[in-house]
């Protein structure tokens, strides 16, 4: 036992000597990942602002101008470009220069101030960029609604509070200000962690094989299990350090809180890193070259990506995908990560996910260990 430990230690030291010589990989894994997370988090967690907007005001009244001013006040658009002709709008849409255009008809002011007029506001959106177009639509609808409410209040003689009481009131839990960073960055962190661990583990054995040094290792007095453990320890250390670094980063830069137990989070993170690690080692043995290993990691990682709930929560997906999600470790990990960070959930709530993670870990880890050992022998 003692000598086995010594042999593993010497393998680990060998790995670290490799890492020091080829310092680009660990540097990228640790700093690059964390830095990228900040960049990506920053780019994706900002509300859409500064979108180009065109206005065709056929009314040219104080009222129509006030409507446009209200559009500007939403903060979604940059200063609107005023045009005189619908053809200009159509040309700009074709060239992709604007995300939205608003056309106010002649008689807009008259309709607004009359007893029962319905002013028509035409909106043209550039569907070739659906995400900003949707943001633009939401902003314009918001302005139209508040104008509608004001007009209705004037006409019916209700007071505005009375009207308000007909609309459902909204409360948001766990993320009261609906900060985008709080829900996008944990998912991005989870994703970065998965790719880091997978790539690192996948390159470890495929590289020795490609360079012909795996044979050398195999003829030395190491058992296959010792080689696997020796390969796994540095990858685990890098993955776990990376997680700590990224967690600190999202906490400081984006104010993502850790509302639950940090200890529980760290233990489960370690478990998750182990599961991904065993996946990575299996890929590493399966692949014939580093190039192949890398491409396989991209495929596996992207397939998992769907189930992390990044774009759409898993619970709202079609039923068959919900069932499939249960078999993806990243899905359980994201549920745990979000639960502990934002909902202050404890193990009493998260145990199904933790149990699934452990179960999947045992199955994947066991299969991977058998597969890798057989391949090495």
């Amino acid at each position: 036992m003692r000598s086995a430990l010594r042999r593993i230690a010497s393998l680990v030291i060998k790995e670290f000597i490799h890492l020091r010589r080829d310092w680009w990989l660990p540097a990228f894994m640790l700093l690059g990942g964390a830095l990228e997370l900040v960049l990506v988090g920053w780019a994706t967690s900002r509300p859409m602002t500064n979108l180009p907007l065109m206005v065709l005001d056929r009314d040219r009244s104080a009222t129509s101008r006030a409507f446009v001013v209200d559009l500007g006040n939403t903060g979604t658009f940059r200063a609107p470009e005023w045009v005189d002709d619908q053809a200009e709008i159509e040309a700009a849409l074709l060239r992709g220069e604007i995300n939205a255009a608003v056309i106010l008809p002649r008689g807009f002011a008259e309709q607004v101030h009359s007893a029962s007029g319905r002013p028509v506001v035409a909106v043209l959106l550039n569907g070739a960029e659906s995400l900003p177009a949707t943001a633009a639509r939401r902003a314009i609808e918001g302005v139209a609604r508040s104008w509608g409410d004001r007009i209705a209040v004037e006409r019916v003689g209700l007071d505005s509070q009375q009207l308000e009481s007909f609309f459902p009131s909204l409360r948001v839990w766990f993320n009261e200000s609906l900060s985008e960073a709080l829900y996008t960055t944990p998912a991005e962190l989870g994703l970065m962690l998965e790719f880091t661990v997978l790539i690192f583990a996948a390159l470890s054995i495929s590289r020795e094989r490609e360079l012909g040094t795996l044979e050398q290792l195999l003829v030395m007095p190491f058992s296959s299990l010792e080689i696997i453990i020796g390969k796994a320890i540095p990858a685990m250390l890098i993955g776990f350090t990376d997680f700590l670094l990224m967690l600190g980063m999202v906490n400081m830069v984006f104010g993502v809180p850790v509302r639950g137990s940090l200890a529980l989070l760290l233990i489960l993170a370690l478990g998750y890193v182990l599961v991904e690690l065993s996946k990575g080692l299996a890929i590493s043995v399966f692949a014939r070259s580093q190039h192949q290993a890398f491409l396989l990691v991209m495929m596996v990682g992207m397939a998992d990506f769907m189930f992390t709930g990044y774009a759409v929560p898993v619970e709202t997906m079609p039923l068959i995908l919900q069932k499939a999600a249960n078999l993806v470790p990243a899905h359980h990990w994201l549920a745990i990560l979000r639960g502990i960070l934002l909902k202050a959930s404890g193990i009493d709530v998260l145990w199904p996910h933790a149990a699934a993670l452990v179960g999947l870990g045992l199955v994947i880890g066991g299969a991977s260990l058998r597969y890798v050992r057989r391949a090495l022998n």
Binding site: E129, A152, Q162, M299
Partner: protein, 377 residues
């Protein structure tokens, strides 16, 4: 520069790729397979958002309100709950994403036209499903209100239209339903077509790692011939994908293609040239495949995803990032793919982007050739 030399290198590289059958298949299929996976990951539709109801009123009116919502397919009724604590527990466990609370005087106030005391609670950690629930409940509440109150309002002499006087007529061009799938898939093409660039970086670093680059340099083959010859087979791989991907987009994801395919093919070659040159710079600069891989992910993969305007419009980015985006071939190509697929425009609109691709391609190849001499000297 001699064509014979260039072709000789291209043939050697092609032979390398083809010899390793499984890597060849992976390199060839990677862009299209990744497009398929990412399109699924990012555009899964929200189908059924689970919600619970806390009905303090327990009247026939409040029950029929909930029944109306439960009957629809967009929101999935979890069941009635007895207390706020139960709602909290369900939200924490993620079993529901939204909850409706009806006040004890729900039906009384509704019938006496005082208001509609309804509260919606959503899970802020997943705002996408929350916004979905708010939109759909709001819409149903309005319908319900109309059905319940129309007679009463008319008796009071208030026409229904006056409650929502601004008539907003929204039309989205190119993508009438504003479905993210329709414009994200053309955008993603610009991202996954960067994968051959990662492969060329790895292939060059591979020669470095195995010491065969020096052998090649000892032959009368020039630098430019060597670099272009290395790129040639990967450009072919990319071109094959330029044919696969529109077919996949049309047949599988129902994304239209309105442009001129021959022009699209030509502009895609410009893009491949530009992005592969980026890969060549990395391959020339890095000594090992692992390092080349790390740098490719950092410079090609992640920026290609987040900075090329696929998700986040360039117009809304801060100045610094906008400049960086202009230096990425993917930014210009994403505009071209969306133009070709959705707006169906031709060179009269797209020429500036085509010119940018050529300029970037030439600049990157020049830099690569320069580096190459320095690194080998």
């Amino acid at each position: 520069m001699s064509w014979r030399h260039l072709l000789a290198v291209a043939r050697k590289e092609t032979y390398h790729i083809l010899r390793d059958r499984s890597t060849f298949i992976l390199v060839l299929l990677a862009p299209t397979l990744l497009l398929l996976l990412m399109a699924y990951a990012l555009t899964v539709d929200i189908e059924r958002v689970p919600f619970a109801a806390l009905d303090h009123d327990r009247s026939p009116i409040s029950r029929s309100f909930i029944q109306g919502i439960a009957a629809g397919k967009d929101l999935d009724f979890y069941g009635y709950v007895g207390s706020l604590e139960e709602i909290e527990a369900l939200l924490v466990r993620g079993e529901i994403k939204a909850a409706l609370i009806m006040a004890p005087d729900f039906s009384r106030r509704l019938l006496s036209l005082e208001g509609m005391p309804l509260q919606i609670i959503i899970d802020g950690t997943e705002p996408e499903s929350g916004a979905f629930a708010v939109d759909h409940v709001g819409w149903r509440a309005e319908q319900f209100l109309r059905d319940q109150l129309s007679a009463q309002l008319q008796a009071m002499g208030i026409p229904l239209d006056t409650l929502q006087p601004v008539d907003l007529r929204v039309r989205a061009w190119f993508n009438p339903g504003l479905e993210p799938r329709v414009d994200l898939i053309p955008g993603l093409i610009s991202m996954v077509l960067g994968f051959p660039a990662l492969s060329v970086a790895l292939a060059l670093a591979h020669e470095r790692e195995h010491g065969t680059l020096e052998q090649l340099m000892a032959t009368p083959i020039g630098r430019a011939e060597l670099l272009l010859g290395k790129m040639a087979p990967y450009i072919l791989v990319g071109m094959a994908n330029v044919i696969f991907m529109p077919v996949l987009a049309r047949a599988w994801f129902d994304v239209p293609f309105h442009g001129n395919f021959a022009l699209f093919f030509l502009l895609s070659i410009f893009f491949l040239f530009a992005v592969l040159s980026m890969g060549v710079i990395i391959g020339v600069f890095m000594r090992t495949q692992a390092a080349a891989l790390a740098l490719s992910l950092l410079l090609i993969f992640f920026p290609g995803f987040f900075l090329t305007g696929i998700f986040f419009p360039i117009a809304a980015m801060p100045e610094v990032m906008r400049l960086e985006a202009l230096g990425l071939p993917g930014t210009h190509y994403a505009i071209i793919t969306r133009g070709m697929f959705l707006t169906g425009v031709g060179l009269e609109v797209l020429w500036p982007y085509a010119v940018m691709l050529i300029v970037l391609g030439l600049a990157f190849t020049g830099v690569a050739a320069l580096f190459f001499r320095k690194r080998l000297a």
